[in-house]
Symmetry: C2
Subunit: 200 residues, 2 copies
């Protein structure tokens, strides 16, 4: 072990120390938008681009969360609120660990998103509104969920039988109709550079 | 953006890619032992030493979890089981992100620890038994909790009014009576090197 004779530090590894190790700052990049809007696709592309820049990232989405940590939760209103609460808390832990966390949840309610923002230090919550109109999402319907929702087979479906409260002042808004995925990802990275979260 | 014209990768950033970026493998270093046994102290020292080796780590303990993610949980048996389940799932997410996670929970039940082990890929769960005898922990009583438990002010207190099921075959056993913290930490790091989780 190096430095065996150095005085023991009783303090924890700090965010400042993690920042020095990682050469980027922590952040929570919180994607919100309708089902089918492109949240996961863009988050995935963004994560790959951040990897190329040497950033330490993690993507939280339904796939790695609903079958694990949140397996005890269903889709009632209170379970959805708890789902977002836990994701906010987990995102906070990852940010505390110095990582750039990306989340891809519909997260339709302003109050839930505000709650997560409130958990984090100023500037660490970056709301990315994937502003694809409902009509377009329903036309794409990549998982056939809108069809089922229209047929009444899925209840509380955002945009059909449950409201979506669009962000009024998101850090970044994405237009998937007019911009390519590459352009959308570039705009988010520009924002991260402007805020000095990433360099390179 | 570098590589702007390269074909988009639709796959996620993989564990192999994270391993290349970090230059160490992910692991969950799960400390278990009585209250006052020294779990948090040793975990903290270990995290500082791993930082010096350039490892990306995170320490999950009561402090950053009970007031956040698990704030809805109390201390009933089922809440304790749920507490450990969530910590296992969160540790799994961190390991999936390529990090070395350290956890410092009493985690008295074999079944709970086995459950967490079962969540993780072979070799990623490293059980560290902080084998300080109950008598010694009660003598130290750093937070005055044993005194309260003996007075009946705290229920289901491990070792006093609730059992502790010691690991039979932990990856590492720590003897805080005969070994210094430095020696204990060095033994864990030796284990991590032997398993090629860390180098340096």
């Amino acid at each position: 072990m190096k430095d065996k004779n150095i005085v023991w530090h009783n303090h924890s590894v700090s965010q400042e120390m993690r920042h020095r190790l990682n050469d980027h700052k922590p952040a929570v990049i919180w994607f919100t938008g309708f089902s089918g809007s492109g949240k996961s696709t863009i988050a995935n592309h963004l994560e790959n681009e951040l990897y190329k820049l040497g950033c330490h990232t993690y993507l939280l989405d339904g796939d790695n969360v609903r079958h694990g940590l949140n397996r005890d939760l269903g889709f009632t209103h209170s379970d959805r609120v708890e789902n977002i609460r836990r994701m906010g808390e987990v995102a906070k832990l990852f940010a505390d660990a110095g990582q750039i966390v990306l989340t891809a949840f519909i997260s339709p309610f302003k109050s839930d998103r505000a709650m997560v923002r409130g958990l984090l230090p100023e500037g660490q919550f970056i709301e990315v509104f994937v502003d694809t109109p409902l009509e377009e999402c329903e036309k794409r319907d990549p998982k056939g969920l809108y069809k089922k929702a229209r047929a009444g087979e899925i209840g509380y479906f955002t945009g059909i039988s449950s409201p979506y409260e669009a962000p009024e002042d998101p850090e970044v808004a994405i237009d998937t109709i007019n911009d390519s995925n590459e352009q959308s990802v570039a705009r988010i990275i520009d924002y991260l550079r402007e805020k000095e979260i990433t360099r390179g």
